[in-house]
Structures are given as structure tokens and as C-alpha cells.
Amino acid sequence: MAVLGSLFVIVQRNPIYSVLALIGAFFGLSGLYVLLEAPFVAVVQIIIYAGAIMVLFLFVVMLLNVPREDAAEWDRAHPLYRPWPMRIGALLALVTIAQLGWALSRTPGIGGGVGEQTAGISDVGALGRVLFTDYMFAFELTSILIIVSMVGAVILARRQSE
């Protein structure tokens, strides 16, 4: 479901359907988290990502009234549709797929190993403890980043009165 959702994000013409497909992809990811014995992360993913951030995306797409992509016009007028960019792009895509296949074939067996190790760690209390001791620096940096973006947004949206 995560893969299908992500695929639909790029394939869809209508931008609203893209956003909805991304939400579907997040639900798929959340399910994967539950299967990895991390229910807290799964629910928090839904609350924050699919619940708040995607609403923001939807707002932006709706207010900007982004039009449907027109395939015929793209084929004619889009600057990336020249011969050389197309060939290099195709080569890069093939290289990426080959790399992905190589990496996937090199992972040790799937399933089983992950569950037992992380089941004890993903408890919420333990998560909080680790976040506030080992990863304290990252936590503070993230808070500063959020404050910076909030201040920036307020300044950008201020009315130019004085």
C-alpha cells in the first residue's frame, strides 16, 4: 500500500489526488510500523504527518488552485523533454533501479530478527528516556528549527502596514 500510494503520487494528473495518494502511502507506512512492533510511532505518524502536515499541503494546493497536468501540452512544450535530458534521465533511472535491486538482494533474511530486538525499546517511556538523554542535542536542534520556521512564517505573512 505504501508503494502503490507513492506510485500514484507521481502518476496522478490531478494534484489533489496526488495529495490523497500520499496520505494513503502514509497509512501504509504506519501499518509497517505496527508490524515492526512500534505502535506509538505508527500512531504519531498518522497524527502528525497524515493529520497535520498533509492538511497543510491540501490547503496550499486548494488555495493555489493548481491545475490538472495536461499530458499533450507537456510533450510539446516542457523544457526537460529534449532528447539529451531524456536519455540521461533514463540512464539514471536504470542505474537507480539496478542499485536498489543489488542492495535488496544483499540484505540478510527478512522477518523475525527485527521484532524481538526492538520490542523492548519501542515502549513510549523508553523512547522518551532515550530522546532526552542520548539524543538531547538533536532534540534541541529540532526545537530551534521549528521556532525559526515559525518566526519566518509570521514575518513573511505580516501585513506591510508601517
Binding site: 497524527i47 497524515a50 491540501l58 490547503f59
Partner: protein, 353 residues
């Protein structure tokens, strides 16, 4: 195949199916009863009698309403986005029902010896139950915003966006009040939170979270309820809804069943918020006189009191204007919730809970 039939006929499975069916039908019938109760309560508060013609004391009025809505023509504007137009009310109603799933309405009971071991009265027993309710409430927002967009009219879109902005703003204070309760109960599962509220302080004040370290628990309860009322777009915060009576809003282009589904979703959201508030703050199913088996009676009584307060608020208090509503949510409720959270955290640390 025989194994599967054996599994289906075991008493636990049948009782569980019974519980799921009871919750589903209970929510629907609850919504219908709420329609009737709202009209009666509104009437009596306005010095008149509500529906009295249909059935004894107007009791069958909701049925008449539902029948009327079923027979109305199902319109769809030509320029509307058809898949989203169809899906938006479904998302609203689905989110409303799913949000009630992890909420327990009674202690683990054996149904008078029918089962071997007690079975909890919920649809889904999850460890992070409180957060799941919150997550699904966030999903309910999508039903509204997609309804506003799919109707393809300026007024619907703006009404939908406003309503959505209001809901996500008040979700913050909702979440912080929720976090306060999680601090007190040291767990995120509903059953653990309710079990934390058994017993009494000084033998006569029940140990509910709302009475905890007065006035902190009370403030948390107030913030939670106010944010909940704003979440469900009800009572003094229903500017997007009332705007529809004046101009237009996210559900103007809908008619008959789809309209009914939006209202069903709204009433079920109300019931869910009341039930969650009862479980978190008012002690869930603990009550003085009945033996523990009948806890759900107390639960239903408390939810009924909260729902009455919802209706009471709607018909007594004037509604907020939209900008005052948003200012209240961000500038008053959010700081109050945060300070309350810090104070409760300090209290928990000091009293060593």
C-alpha cells in the same frame, strides 16, 4: 473449514461480535436520540415544546426525519469532482465510527458467567488507545475539507477551509489536555486510565482525574471539553456551520443521504468526545452503588450528562465570530493548556505518583 466454524461459534467470538454490533447500533441510535433530544432541549429552553405530534411525546420524530431524507432527491452539481464528492461524507462518517472503537464503556465483565474469563467491553483493545482516538479525529478533518473542495463552489471551499483551520487549531489544546491525563495515569491505554480513577479521596470525593489536585484537574477537564466542542464544530464554535444558514458552507451542495451522513458524523463525534472525556476525567464506569459488573450504567449516565451540557451550551451561549474563535484557540487556550501541563508535571513529580 470445520475449525473455522468452531472458532466462530465459541462464546468469546459471539460475544465480541455482539459487542461490536452493540457499539455500532448504539452509536447510530444514539445519534438519532441526540437529534430528538436536541430539538426537545432547545424547545424547552426557548419556552416552547418541541416535536410532539409524531408518536408519544414526539419520540418518533427522528424516524420521520430519516424517512424524509431517504426519499429526497440526491443532487450532484455538474461541475463537482465526482469521486471526491462521493467519498467525502464517507470519510467523515468512517472516521467518526472508528474514533469510538478503542473507547471502553464498561469494566471487563464475564457477562454473568457466560464466559470463562472477563472480556473488556471495547471494539479494539490497543495499548496506545488514547492516541488512536486523537489520530482518527485528525482524519475526520479530511472529510470536511474534501467536501468543501469537491463541491466546486467558492463558498463551499472557503467554508470548508475555515472549518478545517478551526479544527486543527483546537486539536493542539485537545492533545495537550490529553497529555496531562497521560501524565497522571502513567499509561496511554484507556482501561489503565480508568482503573487509575477507582477509589476515593478522604472516603467521599471520588478519585477522578477532574478532582485531582484542585484546580489543575478541573482546568484540564475544561480545556479538553472546550477543545472537544471546537473540534466537533458545535455550540459556540459553530461559525462554519451557522455560516451555512446565512451564506453557504461545506455541505450546501449535498442533499438527502450525504447530508444525513454529515450530520450523523457530527453527532457521533459529539458522542465520542463525551465518552472520551468521561473515561479520561470523570472516572469512566466507576460509581458508588452498583456492583462492578454494571459499570456501564454509570458510564452511560455520565456520557448523558456531558451530552446534555453540550446541548445546553449550544442553545444558551451566542456563537463566536471566526477571528475571535481562532484568537481564543491560539492565544488563550493553548498557553493555558501548556501551563497546566507543566503544573501537572510538577505536581506529579512532587507527589511522586
Amino acid at each position: 473449514m470445520g475449525d473455522m466454524i468452531d472458532f466462530m461459534l465459541r462464546p468469546e467470538t459471539l460475544v465480541y461480535a455482539g459487542i461490536v454490533g452493540a457499539v455500532f447500533m448504539g452509536l447510530q441510535i444514539g445519534a438519532a436520540v441526540m437529534v430528538y433530544a436536541e430539538r426537545k432541549v432547545a424547545a424547552y429552553m426557548q419556552q416552547r415544546m418541541g416535536p410532539t405530534l409524531v408518536g408519544p411525546a414526539g419520540l418518533f420524530q427522528p424516524i420521520a426525519d430519516i424517512v424524509k431524507l431517504i426519499f429526497k432527491e440526491d443532487l450532484k452539481p455538474k461541475a463537482a469532482d465526482s469521486a471526491l464528492f462521493f467519498a467525502a461524507p464517507i470519510i467523515s462518517v468512517a472516521a467518526a465510527y472508528i474514533a469510538f472503537a478503542p473507547v471502553p464503556f464498561g469494566p471487563a465483565s464475564t457477562f454473568f458467567g457466560l464466559l470463562d474469563e472477563p472480556m473488556p467491553l471495547l471494539v479494539a483493545d490497543i495499548n496506545v488507545a488514547v492516541l488512536v482516538v486523537f489520530a482518527v479525529a485528525s482524519m475526520g478533518v479530511y472529510g470536511i475539507v474534501l467536501a468543501g473542495w469537491a463541491s466546486n463552489s467558492k463558498y463551499s471551499l472557503l467554508g470548508g477551509l475555515r472549518s478545517t483551520a478551526q479544527m486543527i487549531s483546537y486539536e493542539l489544546s485537545f492533545g495537550i489536555a490529553l497529555a496531562t491525563v497521560i501524565l497522571l495515569a502513567n499509561s496511554m491505554s484507556f482501561r489503565a486510565i480508568v482503573n487509575n480513577q477507582a477509589g476515593y479521596f478522604f472516603d467521599f470525593i471520588p478519585r477522578w482525574h477532574v478532582f485531582w489536585m484542585f484546580p489543575l484537574g478541573f482546568i484540564a477537564f475544561g480545556i479538553f471539553t472546550i477543545a472537544g466542542i471546537a473540534e466537533t464544530n458545535r455550540a459556540p464554535f459553530d461559525f462554519p456551520e451557522a455560516e451555512q444558514e446565512l451564506v453557504a458552507g461545506y455541505h450546501t451542495e449535498y442533499s438527502s443521504m450525504a447530508f444525513a451522513m454529515f450530520f450523523l458524523a457530527e453527532y457521533i463525534n459529539m458522542i465520542t468526545v463525551s465518552a472520551v472525556a468521561t473515561n479520561l476525567f470523570l472516572g469512566g464506569w466507576h460509581g458508588p452503588f452498583l456492583p462492578p459488573e454494571y459499570g456501564f450504567v454509570w458510564f452511560l449516565a455520565k456520557v448523558a450528562v456531558l451530552l446534555f451540557c453540550y446541548l445546553w451550551l449550544r442553545w444558551t451561549v451566542p456563537r463566536f465570530r471566526y477571528d475571535r474563535l481562532m484568537a481564543f484557540g491560539w492565544k488563550v487556550l493553548l498557553p493555558a493548556a501548556t501551563v497546566n501541563l507543566i503544573a501537572v508535571a510538577a505536581g506529579v513529580l512532587y507527589f511522586g505518583l
